[in-house]
Assembly symmetry: D2
Homo-oligomer: 362 residues x 4
């Protein structure tokens, strides 16, 4: 249980880091949406290892195959299954993980829960699992382009360790995000972040940071009271990503240090529409989008895998030390950007379809 | 859609602030759990208005009636329906809300979504809806007392506006929390918070803050990969509460300013068990509990309803001003504590049952 | 678990035959559908006891109260909770059921499953539970009247014991069904059925029979492959009703005695539309409606409660005999008609909304 | 939507008859269940084409690959993805299906629903889709062997066209079923059925029939009131199989011709257990298993694909005729047997896990 997400636009991911492959089955995609493997591959390429100097140098081409649900370039309305084969399987590299729990990884908890785990790499807890999400997110984008043609979802790095960027969420473009390997649209900050990441790697250490995401040009009315509030589903989506530790929307935690008179978003009439003068709500009020930009931030912890020796224990309860060998990300942030976008697209696409089911024309 | 929560221990809440009443149907409660209306009433009394000087002075006794699912003091295994009648219905007090959208409330978004809204009070978006959650949370506690007899779930206020308390989550008791009206176990901070809240009310303004929650003595193994990670479900649960703007677990956003070598929780053997030397993970790794304390924090914005005049618009798109009249909470934090606990109990009870379904005895 | 039905138009029923009451929460109803308590009461009156000479003479007025989700005569889009109080509670009449299992009732299985049961009447297994379904079905009808304005759902009795009626499903009207107490539109058969039912009651015995249902003027395209085929959801809906033993659609079991060349429905063009020359498929092909009449049949067993003494056992495993006292239905068929219609309306409304979510305009 | 089945033991099938392949993702399988590809292959071999003289002679080896969820011969508790590649793709054989609707197939309804269809073979409506079900059913059997070690699920053909077999459901064995190509344990009837099927094929026609299924040695307590009654979930499961037209449990439709005093199953004490003297209920009372044999019957229509010319229409609404070419099953019954067993295993496994989650030890 637990490998499905969404109500109408519903995905189920599968796969461990080692084994036959990873992938996703997407049920609930409207028919006759133009879809090619390339639409999906583009997004997968943004998340795959080896794409730049500051991410892990593992070589995985992550080529996707659409197994079903598409015919002559269009969706059929039936489940879309997408498979990416595992390639870089070097189980011997993981041999010591068989008997030793890596600190702040899921080795121990999977063992505690299941009494068994695929110790070759992260198994199900590997970031490879997100391949299925990113693939499905690419389909969600295509559906959103049909349902909300003007809509955009753009994520980017705002913070790495103690470095913060200045980004205006209302105008940032994807081109600015993709302009550098950190995926931080503030060029200067990006350069500093790059240096910090490289230094952390040199020191056998790792860094965390914050990804911000903006969803623009979605109409008011998305989100369901009470439990399926739009921000609640976004929070779940983001906290389901590996290495995430926090979520905030609009003014977020900083809202706690404002007074009501400072925080409230006054309504005004702009271009004959009801708009808010400010957007501390982050585009959502009472769980339902209000038509303003939806803006949220996600905290990622520093990568748990580090080259430095750490204190840990073996599966037979003996204390020992462990130092990661091989290739790993000194900072997950650049590769987290497409994951955050994918999850946001899945949530918004699901709610767009839900709204479509129940909305009544005036 | 959207008014149900949980997979096995599943609740559906219903009701608007004005109308017949509010309540909950809980399906999936194990049978033969001792349950009395008083078990539920105790928790409802912690969230109801009028309980102290610093919360709204609306008079609502919020007496619950168990309509089904309990027989001779024990649960039947069938749906438990709980109803609380609405009492303090003074729709005339809300007359001006019929034509005017309150800033940072859900009036506008409900109207945009549904083309209709119950403008008498907050309708479905009212905090009265949480009565059903708190009632169901009281049942969840009873089930958890059966499944995890040593377990405890304790929430408390750590921050109000710019005031922060010093609380040790590993030892705090419910008695300490309930010792003052703010529900902040740091007495001195509580006194300052009390003053700040009273001053905000005097000024026609409102304050936000942070609720922290600790769940102790839950065994390792709760939580499902991939989407139903324990922290993901907690995040959704918390962000579904009214007025919440953020969620963080363990080191949370502060984790982004630590290096991997500083953030990782080393494993050690303690009392012959695998334990972590620190708990920056907040008791969850890879979405599954590791047996350490589960600790998370929830940001609440300052109450949207304030006595000061605010700029807004009418339903026919004319700009106007609005100043709330009558009684309202200058700070939702004290009443949010039982809500956070209830949602945490619902998530943990659901996952405890899910684990029970699939866990294999050694 | 198990008390919810539907994906988008989703109901959760609650309540035992004795206790606070029975009812339903309906989540997923579109907003701005005109709805009054009377719309619901009309359908409840068709299923309630005491309505004619051949049903149980228990006196239950079954007055419904809408607790939420409706405002000024229109649905809000929020959960609609409907409550019917239990009235005819005479638990002493059931005292012997405390210690004795009634044959072919659910007393034993509930005890086996839960280790406890509400032995006052049928508890959760009582036909009173269907009040919630019929109430929700009345709402479904209102939604269908909006989504498929020409649509009709009409159920009727075709068989009681060994008596069969001749009914043309393509033209039968509700007025014909309601013209007699048996709800069999073939007047002569109805008279014979009436006599048979009265005689069975006189003999302390009971009769079963068959309800047929036709859903007309639904467009092609309702139903989802693969598991949520329209006939699969109808089958589940019908077999979830008390006392049902079988379901068949179109030619049903008789189809097994036809050859493919006899059974297939040839396509033809009629009024410029693709139509079938015959309708042995019962309006559904591959799980999806084809625009023809949807016709299915449901088998109901003879009422388990009979006045004759029957062999049974006590809860402490002693053999004994039991003869039902008091008032009960000698034949559930007449009261089953509104139940079948309600479940059909729920299934069709759910699928109509699902289709609305995903259908793409040409 | 609609391609998932089950609550805890939940499968999602994918795939069209032509394209990359068909398969299933199974989420909710307990960990540490021994599972090999061969366990699955055995069941797939029972459903595949070409296995005997009376089924379609299409050559499909249907070799399965387990992509995930199994490690060193044991389940991991994570999703099990199983893929079977499509092999016998001869789309040119289906060219005329592009423009012509086959009578009593799903061509027209898929086109009406989606505005597009994979016209190469049956697409999503092809019986190839059941590969995923049968594969998952094989896993369900392994889990049931762990949860209910004595349990057995055996299906068999009782009727083909007007030929009926005499089979005692309480003692029939799988060996008897597998002893002939018809999968009818009554040898003489089987021979007659074989001849009838061969003759139908020779005549370019097809036959339907009935599959009966018995589930033995399941404990009392499986099944959930109210909507997820065990028979309701079985009915849905069976009516979701291609070509099914009816479902009945226990005495089924014949129950309507019995009086209550004839139909009720008297309780008695046997071997110190509460048992029923007869089993007209089919092992389920009030939706919950009572420990007796669970016995139900499923009606299959004659295969829609026949060699004889039939009247039909083209996609541009012109009347025409169509005669199927190539290889097809003159009678689906023999291959339906493993499908019925698979669906029964899925339902029972799901309910066994659900019961495990909520059952309380005495």
């Amino acid at each position: 249980m637990g490998s499905s997400f969404g109500q109408l636009f519903r995905i189920t991911t599968f796969g461990e880091s080692h084994g036959g492959g990873v992938g996703v089955v997407l049920d609930g995609c409207p028919s006759r949406i133009a879809l090619s493997p390339n639409d999906i591959q583009q997004e997968l390429d943004r998340r795959r290892p080896g794409q730049s100097a500051i991410v892990t140098q593992r070589q995985e081409s992550d080529r996707c195959e659409i197994l079903s649900g598409v015919f002559e370039g269009q969706t059929l309305g039936t489940p879309i299954a997408i498979l990416v084969r595992n390639e870089d399987a070097r189980p011997e590299a993981y041999r010591e993980m068989k008997d030793t729990y890596r600190p702040s990884h899921a080795d121990f908890t999977y063992q505690a829960k299941y009494g068994i785990r695929n110790w070759q790499g992260g198994g199900r807890a590997s970031a490879r699992e997100t391949i299925g999400r990113v693939a499905a997110g690419a389909v969600a984008r295509k559906v959103l382009a049909f349902l909300h043609p003007e809509s955009e979802i753009i994520a980017y790095v705002t913070d790495v360790y103690d470095l913060s960027a200045a980004v205006d969420s209302s105008v940032v473009t994807r081109a600015q995000v993709e302009a550098n390997a950190v995926r931080c649209p503030d060029k200067e900050a990006a350069r500093a972040m790059m240096r910090a990441i490289e230094q952390a790697r040199a020191e056998g250490d790792s860094l965390g940071g914050i990804v911000e995401c903006v969803a623009r040009n979605f109409s008011a009315g998305l989100g369901e009271p009470v439990f399926d509030k739009l921000e609640a589903d976004l929070a779940k989506a983001m906290l389901s990503l590996p290495a995430t530790k926090g979520f905030e929307i609009g003014a977020g935690f900083a809202a706690t240090r404002l007074r009501g008179s400072e925080h409230n978003d006054a309504f005004e009439i702009r271009d004959k529409e009801v708009r808010t003068a400010t957007n501390r709500s982050g585009g959502i009020q009472g769980g339902i989008s209000n038509g303003e930009d939806i803006v949220f931030r996600v905290a990622f912890k520093p990568t748990a895998t580090i080259a430095r020796a750490q204190q840990t224990v073996t599966t037979d309860k003996t204390e020992t030390t462990l130092a990661a060998r091989g290739r790993h990300d000194p900072c997950v942030l650049p590769r987290a950007v497409p994951m955050v976008e994918a999850m946001a697209a899945l949530v918004l696409c699901d709610h767009a379809l839900r709204q479509r089911a129940l909305a009544q024309p005036d």
